[in-house]
Subunit: 181 residues, 2 copies
């Protein structure tokens, strides 16, 4: 397992070892030992979402008593995954990091609390799995529009192909929210 830093402090890409044989493959997708050595621990919930091509989920964060760090990965299919630093005292405040996650590269991205997160599914049958360090808590949820010009995310695919929940279409801009981080 390799832990690879990104240009945004705290955001880490994890590359697992993939064991292939005539049966298929085997991967340890999470192991408490190397993760806690890298300061990543405390997971309490595992989530799975399934998305059609063009589904965009985001940009979301969970703050408060159940603030969430997220360890995200794709099991099948392919996404354009984005995390935006909204930690007010961060030297990279407002900057984002994007990465292609897919079932082949089997990479994970560790996103500590203090980031907005979202992704666009680039293929049908995309299975997206994530572990979180705080229980789901609607009272701590916040969100920002995927197309907020301040975020300046260059999403792939044509925007008229996007499938976005009613909730996410109504999100405010970053400058309109009261930022708890």
């Amino acid at each position: 397992m390799n832990f690879v830093p990104t240009p945004i402090p705290g955001l880490v890409v994890i590359e697992p070892q993939i064991w292939k044989d005539e049966r298929g493959f085997f991967i340890e997708t999470y192991n408490e030992k190397p993760f806690s050595t890298h300061g990543i621990s405390g997971f309490v919930q595992d989530n799975l979402s399934y998305s059609h091509r063009g589904v965009l989920r985001g940009m979301h964060a969970q703050a408060g008593d159940n603030a969430q760090g997220k360890l995200v990965r794709v099991l099948r299919g392919r996404v354009f995954d984005v995390a935006v630093d909204i930690r007010k005292s961060s030297s990279t405040y407002g900057k984002h990091f994007s990465i292609i996650l897919d079932g082949e590269n089997a990479k994970s991205l560790w996103i500590p609390p203090g980031f907005l997160h979202g992704f666009l599914a680039l293929e049908d049958d995309t299975l997206f799995a994530y572990k979180v360090t705080g229980f789901y808590d609607k009272s701590g949820e916040l969100g920002v529009r995927w197309d907020d010009p301040e975020l300046a995310i260059e999403w792939p695919l044509r925007h008229d192909e996007f499938i976005i929940s009613a909730k996410d279409r109504q999100l405010p801009l970053l400058k309109e929210i009261s930022n708890p981080f």
Copy 2:
């Protein structure tokens, strides 16, 4: 999340809530609260295996300092999953429980320490995910042949279609192992 007992004490089937919408679906596949309420806790590692149709993995257990309870599920595809009770003082010693796990039913099976476990992939592109309560430890691994007549497992598919690792083809019979449980 429903926790459904099976005829073998300790083995539990878990049925999650599946939230469907125009984007696809969302599932909490694991949540520390309801699981620990049901006495299931202490996961330290998450594993993922990918198998072609006909791949049979098993029958395995891990005993010793890192004895493993396993929470197993299928994310995509379909398996015939089997757990054999080898707890020497159990009233159901030697009995097995089998279940079809697939990406649609999204069921999990909780297998405490003291069981042999194995599965047969019934479809190509089968993704099998499991959480374990002990770190991988070769010194604690034990295995029994999938076709041990004492286990009397009625595997589906034709046996000449099976793809089995060299390691698993050489496993002993249950009566030949020294049983640590």
